[in-house]
């Protein structure tokens, strides 16, 4: 389950504040603006939610709060039954291992092979190498990239990189899968294939949140949605 109760977020770090300014959400001399303002919603276990809104609306900020890359300045967040505000850094890290994240820009490690990229979450969890080999091999077969397990990310197409990214996101059998514009860099055929993978995971019981501004994709895979505008939740259902 994912639950937000009156959640607010303001970026304090200079780089992110300047990013907000570039998007027109603030001025150079003003205090950093709230990028998420009083957002409340609840996604049940095994649920699927589209997170929609225009570019700069705050979708990525909401996703960052869900996958624990940011902490709110106000409000309460429950992720997989855990109140995030009470966790220390170690507990936060352990909770992150139960969340799979797929990024628009893949965020694969360029110096590692496809196999090692997929294996990374299991190695961080110190799983036995035999189990890692079995699981990674199985997942690479599932995403259709068994033959390219030794390839570096730069040797793969965008669609192949995204499939490696989703394999990495799900290898730890996450209870929650979060995807930020996962089809943004893919052609239609690759986007359809990726969505089939994501919906298959949802049918297996994984809670899924997918942020997109591609309303055509939303129409092809109908599901409840959360709509964000100006950092506020304007629709839930």
């Amino acid at each position: 389950m994912v639950r937000f109760e009156d959640v607010w977020l303001k970026y304090r770090r200079a780089g992110e504040a300047s990013l907000v300014r570039l998007t027109g959400a603030g001025s150079a001399n003003a205090a950093p603006p709230d990028v998420v303002s009083g957002v409340s919603f609840e996604i049940p276990d095994g649920g699927f939610r589209w997170l929609i809104g225009a570019s700069g609306a705050g979708k990525t900020s909401v996703l960052k709060l869900i996958y624990l890359a940011e902490r709110p300045i106000r409000g309460d967040i429950d992720i997989l039954g855990t109140r995030v505000g009470k966790l220390d850094r170690r507990e936060l890290a352990l909770l992150r291992r139960r969340i799979g994240v797929v990024y628009q820009d893949f965020r694969l490690l360029p110096h590692l092979s496809a196999y090692d990229n997929v294996a990374l979450p299991m190695r961080l969890a110190r799983r036995p190498e035999a189990q890692i080999k079995a699981d990674v091999t199985e997942l690479l077969r599932w995403v259709g990239l068994s033959e390219k397990h030794q390839s570096r990310p730069y040797e793969l197409s965008g669609g192949e990189q995204q499939r490696i990214a989703i394999a990495r996101a799900v290898i730890g059998r996450p209870k929650l899968l979060v995807a930020d514009e996962p089809t943004g860099n893919l052609d239609d055929e690759q986007a359809e294939r990726l969505m089939l993978l994501i919906t298959a995971l949802n049918r297996l019981g994984t809670t899924v949140v997918v942020a997109t501004h591609n309303l055509g994709l939303v129409a092809r895979y109908p599901a409840p949605h959360l709509e964000i505008a100006g950092g506020r939740l304007v629709a839930d259902g």
């Binding site: 890359a69 890290a93 291992r97």
Partner: protein, 295 residues
């Protein structure tokens, strides 16, 4: 597919030359500083032992009659010294020994120059009694007799040794701080270069201890390796200095094979261990502090 794949790519991110070179140089200096203190302490102990216990008595007109009228002045002084508690082994230098002592100043025939050379008596002084009362007793037996102990010089040598130790300690602290700063700078550079990678690994659930541990392992190995090289390079320099110092220490003749104090052989392997420890601690603090910038 290696289990220990370099997940953070640290082999290219943390310079494999900067840390070993600078930590090696710091270790070289640290070894020299420690060796200097050990050598100074050994020399000081020897000098203090020799000088502090030495009692030198000069008796002018040694062959003149003593004040008591019984025997000459030198004999009277020897009698007082023999009867004084804390004074042992009084011995009047022979003419040949005096000639040898005065030779650097007066040439070969000091006794033939008609100079009023006093008799010189040496003895060991335990410091049990008062030097002032000894001087008074000597002056009564043979007026004009001078008595000197090495206590003042021993105190000066002790003060010099203490200041050398303090200086060496300051050098070691500075060397450790510089090594730590170099490692911190290199770590920050590695963090900046691998910022994106670390953010990804952090997002996948890596513990701070996982990330800091990988950086620390790399820094520890580089610092330890550099220190081994630096300490190793110091050994021939120390042997050369030991050879030069041997005549002063009275350990070996100048032509003999030089040797290092046993304590230094304990210190030498301790330097790389200390450098590795500095590398580990510095990197742990640096990386953990940096990671606090992430959620």
């Amino acid at each position: 597919m290696a289990r220990r794949a370099d997940q953070l790519g640290l082999h290219s991110a943390m310079a494999d030359r900067l840390i070993p070179m600078l930590v090696g140089a710091m270790s070289f200096l640290a070894v020299l500083a420690i060796a200097g203190v050990i050598a100074a302490a050994a020399l000081a102990a020897q000098w203090q032992g020799d000088t502090g216990a030495a009692l030198t008595v000069q008796v002018p007109d040694a062959n003149a009659p003593a004040a008591s009228g019984a025997g000459d002045r030198k004999g009277a002084v020897l009698g007082v010294l023999a009867a004084t508690p804390g004074v042992t082994g009084p011995k009047a230098l022979s003419d040949a020994e005096l000639d040898r002592l005065l030779k650097p100043w007066l040439g070969e025939d000091a006794q033939n120059l008609a100079l009023p050379v006093p008799a010189v008596i040496t003895a060991s002084w335990s410091g049990a009694g008062s030097i002032a009362s000894l001087r008074a007793a000597l002056d009564e037996a043979a007026p004009g007799t001078l008595a000197e102990t090495g206590a003042r010089w021993a105190a000066r040598v002790a003060a010099l040794t203490a200041s050398l130790k303090t200086s060496a300690a300051a050098i070691l602290v500075i060397v450790a701080l510089v090594a730590s700063a170099v490692i911190a700078i290199a770590t920050h550079a590695g963090l900046a270069q691998r910022r994106e990678t670390i953010a990804i690994i952090h997002g996948l659930g890596a513990l701070d201890s996982d990330i800091a541990g990988r950086f620390a392992l790399r820094a520890t190995l580089l610092a330890g390796f550099g220190a081994i090289i630096g300490a190793g390079l110091a050994v021939p320099v120390l042997l050369w200095l030991a050879r030069l110092a041997a005549p002063f220490a009275g350990v070996l003749p100048q032509t003999g094979a030089p040797s290092l104090p046993p304590l230094l052989w304990v210190v030498l392997p301790a330097i790389p261990i200390a450098a590795a420890l500095i590398g580990w601690v510095t990197t742990q603090f640096t990386v953990r502090g940096w990671l606090r910038g992430l959620a």
